[in-house]
Symmetry: C2
Subunit: 214 residues, 2 copies
DNA sequence: ATAGTATTAAAACAACTGTTTGAATCGAAC
DNA sequence: GTTCGATTCAAACAGTTGTTTTAATACTAT
């Protein structure tokens, strides 16, 4: 089964799994190469160093995630009707479901890796993360700002961080069968939160949106 | 300055800082003891092992956080008026601001540690985390369920996870001066998200709460 | 078949890991 | 001043780390 994959892919798969479970530094190259059933030196031969392997594992999924998110967003934006908030949030959140790799019963491995990348102070990782991530975040922030006129930019950035945090945190340890329900709940949750920034609560606890013309 | 602290506290402080920056396994005892300006053997003398030190660093802040959260919640619940959603969320979120330790300009170190603890598959850490955390989460879930009748339990659990994820993610890398604004934004964001679970969107995009009697 | 390149394999490298040991040092109580 | 427990210290332990090296193998184009 996995024996048909190339050495590089076997290493990437094993490394992703182990990095997610144990962390980058806590995982040794010997663990990785043993799980991938390849020789120890193969990592340094194909990737150059452990650090380069970390970046490769990281980029492989993030590239795919970014691509899926942007494609879905562009499709919504190209519709005759301007997309509503839920549609934009869907484009951001739902592609994360596809990251479930292999028989990932105990959470999305890459979401765990993403959490670790955020928590680490590894400059190279942070540069790689923001170099790829920032562009996508800007795109979504713009789309949301259009669908939700009147929202303040700084606050919108913060709210997007809330959504990213909620997504990575919950997806990192959910079972594969719960992921769909979580995504739907999060879209609804986030949409309400975003709308609350341009609305004022009334006395009876109900919420009424403000009309703001630019 | 730091020389007046006991050896144990110096170790805990240095370990917390380094664990937050580099991770548990990536931080060596020699880094810690050097930063704390104590002898290498002091860690094993005072804590027994590196793993025990990790748990000690972890518990020190989490105990304080739990205590502050519950005290604030009980105070709200004991008022003559039943607390509204924002008050409950305040009790959960605002105490996290106090975790800023020392001159933490680049994020709350403990929030980074909490992210790592969630991401790790370390059984001891997970046991310690849920043993202390679950009780508090149950308490808040109950309070919210009372303030927001009609919310489904499973969905409420998920939404609490959203809030925890958003809180740890944003607080872990915010500057100390932004923390307050983030907390306020998150309270508003989360309250709107929670309320959306017991309301239905109407055609014009406005939101009207449902009245549900038990 | 043969030359040449890409890949894999086993072994060794120096550096670093957490932990343990036994002696030195401190600070009170008597 | 002396004794005794608590703490600190320098040194060494066995084991693991990422990386490099050198030889063997597999594969492709001629």
């Amino acid at each position: 089964m996995t024996a048909s994959l190339t050495t590089c892919d076997r290493i990437l798969d094993a490394a992703e799994q182990l990095f997610a479970e144990e962390g980058f530094h806590a995982t040794s190259l010997r663990q990785i190469t043993q799980a991938a059933e390849v020789n120890l030196a193969a990592v340094n031969y194909h990737f150059g160093s452990k650090q380069a392997l970390i970046l490769a594992v990281f980029r492989r999924r993030l590239d795919a995630l970014n691509k899926a998110r942007l494609e879905r967003l562009e499709q919504s934006l190209s519709d005759e009707q301007a997309p509503d908030l839920e549609e934009i949030l869907d484009a951001f959140i739902v592609p994360a479901l596809a990251l479930t790799h292999g028989s990932a019963e105990n959470g999305h491995p890459f979401m765990r890796i993403l959490m670790r990348a955020f928590a680490d102070r590894d400059d190279q990782l942070h540069r790689a993360l923001s170099a790829e991530y920032a562009h996508v975040m800007r795109r979504f922030a713009g789309a949301i700002a259009t669908a939700l006129p009147g929202v303040e930019e700084k606050q919108l950035r913060r709210q997007l961080d809330f959504i990213v945090g909620a997504l990575t945190h919950t997806m990192s340890e959910c079972s594969a069968k719960d992921a769909r329900a979580i995504a739907d709940d999060l879209v609804q949750f986030a949409a309400a939160g975003l709308r609350s920034a341009v609305s004022v609560p009334s006395v009876d606890g109900a919420v009424r949106t403000l009309e703001i013309h630019s």
